[in-house]
Point group: C2
Chain length 336, copies 2
DNA sequence: CTGAAAGCGCTAACAA
DNA sequence: TTGTTAGCGCTTTCAG
């Protein structure tokens, strides 16, 4: 019932606690024989060291914090898997904290982290995040931080992103090549780097190909699904609705498909649609969905790898390590 | 840079550490005036209490562990949101640990938890989990545990499940009513309660409606996606392949659709398909997918609520609190 | 090779 | 109302 601690173990073995501790850390100061006895008895008594006591003493929590907007999202859940795969190898735990796209939540989480709960942070900012004081505070406290996907551009640290501008460009160009001349853009939040870069790529493509840009075809979506659905429906209901759409995030897929169904618009007949997405079901949608797909797992891995490098040697400067990884464009039937 | 601690704060304010501590916990022993001064200075100096020191001293980590097979799954990610929503309210953190369906991982995670990292555990067992010694060890250590969805039936504690038998029955009966007479079943792991209950429902429905049961139409899927795809393809390639399929988990959807596409089978023409699934995209698949959908968010909420009840008063007996919540059957085009 | 003891940051019983 | 102090379980000098 009561948790057995290092002292109990020491008493049981007639050894001192320091010997136990060293044996557990495989110190060279301890004889093989004693090590074995310790390990054996530990197993028998079911002794597990208290991680908080170690943290307190050693000033390392062996935890990294992962701050993301949402977990019910293919991109983020795959990224978590990537992060976790390297954390596990390093003997670290991953504390996943969800902002649910709220700046308030994000601030509170980072604040809490400054108490020493984690040794480093990997994060993707919320849609509401337009200033970065809370992040600077965290870093000023000595906590290394790596951004992935949704970064704060003005902060000097490692950023793992994809080629958002190019992908936005490519997606738009593809629609143009497929014959669209009224192309809409579904963004999320004007503060968000990824949304803005993708938008710039979109605009550049329109410009390069001399396709008209219509402000009314740009929709800024929010965190409110019902609201987004209404906005999308409204856009597609207009007399001169777009005949092509680029959407910046996975969660906009279903509302677009449903709005089309409701309004009797056919994809790709009346509307060609391409979405930034890691949905596994993209290929079996009706119609199958053309996507820009990010290497989510790998991004998580890279972010974690960098974070651990900086954890391992403080001389390592994260600010020199940003990486831009290409996304892949996958043509399917929604843009035929 | 250096983290400021309670002692620094005390020195700054010319107060004792205990006064600070009490002020922070809004103790009635401290004057309003002092409280304000403390809080004010804490904010100014950016003081955040070290949670590990509190844990160590107070023997409560204020963390709960969530052990699940996978996070890249709609059901589990929604459940996490449910759990998190109540944990947050209680001032607790959620430590999400992934087994990736490995028994070995599951054992290691639970073992680690016994060091005091968490105050309680919410879990859904892996497909490989056929014995429960590791779970009993955990509970013997005084840690309350609540199962959700994938339970160990032999363990006496709260279990939040859905009506798996009835859902399996209903899904199968629906296929029969739609004219299927050769119905296949895609399970996962023979050790898993949910898979087995759903299978029993399936068998009972076949029996009640005098439809033949063919062992060769039951496939036991694994954690290896490529292998599953091969098994499914093989099943559908047979001369007397099933004309209806019940699948027990979300991740089997894509392989079934792709196998049909590859083999030139039409859904629902040649094969009617229904799946246990929380996929948001179910309604926009080609064809839209009939599902048994579990109340994932609510299940997470309930599991967490029960866990906190037992954390709040030890007299509370989890073993009396199991709940079976109905899933919903949603008819769509894949079983027309 | 092993042990004694200080102390990580905090809480809470007890004193003042 | 505020202060003193003894630990929580562990690591880590430093001594033996």
């Amino acid at each position: 019932m009561k948790n057995i601690n290092i002292k109990d173990l020491a008493r049981e073995l007639n050894l001192s606690v320091s010997t136990i501790s060293k044996a557990f850390h495989d110190s060279h100061e301890i004889s093989e024989d004693t090590k074995n006895r310790v390990l054996e008895t530990a197993r028998r008594l079911n002794y597990v060291p208290n991680p908080y006591a170690s943290s307190l003493r050693g000033r390392r929590s062996k935890n990294i914090g992962v701050v993301i907007p949402e977990v019910a999202d293919s991109f983020f859940s795959l990224a978590i898997n990537g992060i976790e795969s390297v954390a596990k190898e390093k003997g670290y735990h991953v504390l996943i904290c969800l902002t649910h796209e709220s700046f308030e939540n994000e601030k509170n989480i980072l604040k809490e982290f400054q108490g020493g709960r984690v040794d480093g942070v990997i994060m993707s900012v919320s849609t509401e995040t337009s200033e970065s004081g809370h992040i600077l505070d965290l870093m000023a406290n000595g906590l290394p931080l790596v951004f992935f996907d949704r970064v704060c551009e003005e902060i000097e640290t490692a950023k793992i992103t994809t080629d958002d501008f190019e992908s936005g460009y490519k997606a738009t160009e593809h629609l143009i090549q497929q014959g669209c001349d009224k192309i809409g853009f579904l963004g999320i939040s004007k503060c968000l780097s990824i949304s803005n870069r993708r938008f710039e790529g979109y605009q550049k493509a329109l410009n390069d190909h001399v396709v008209a840009y219509d402000t009314k075809h740009t929709v800024s979506c929010t965190n409110d699904a019902a609201h987004n659905a209404a906005l999308i429906k409204e856009l597609l209901q207009r007399k001169d609705h777009p005949n092509g759409i680029v959407a910046t995030v996975e969660k906009l897929t279903t509302p677009v498909y449903l709005a089309c169904a409701e309004l009797g618009l056919s994809i790709p007949g009346d509307l060609k649609f391409i979405c930034f997405s890691n949905l596994e079901t993209a290929s079996i949608l009706n119609p199958s969905l053309s996507t820009i797909t990010q290497p989510a797992f790998e991004m998580g891995q890279m972010a974690a790898t960098l974070l651990f490098k900086s954890l391992e040697k403080t001389s390592f400067s994260l600010s020199m390590e940003s990486q831009v990884i290409p996304s892949s464009f996958i043509k399917r039937n929604s843009t035929d």
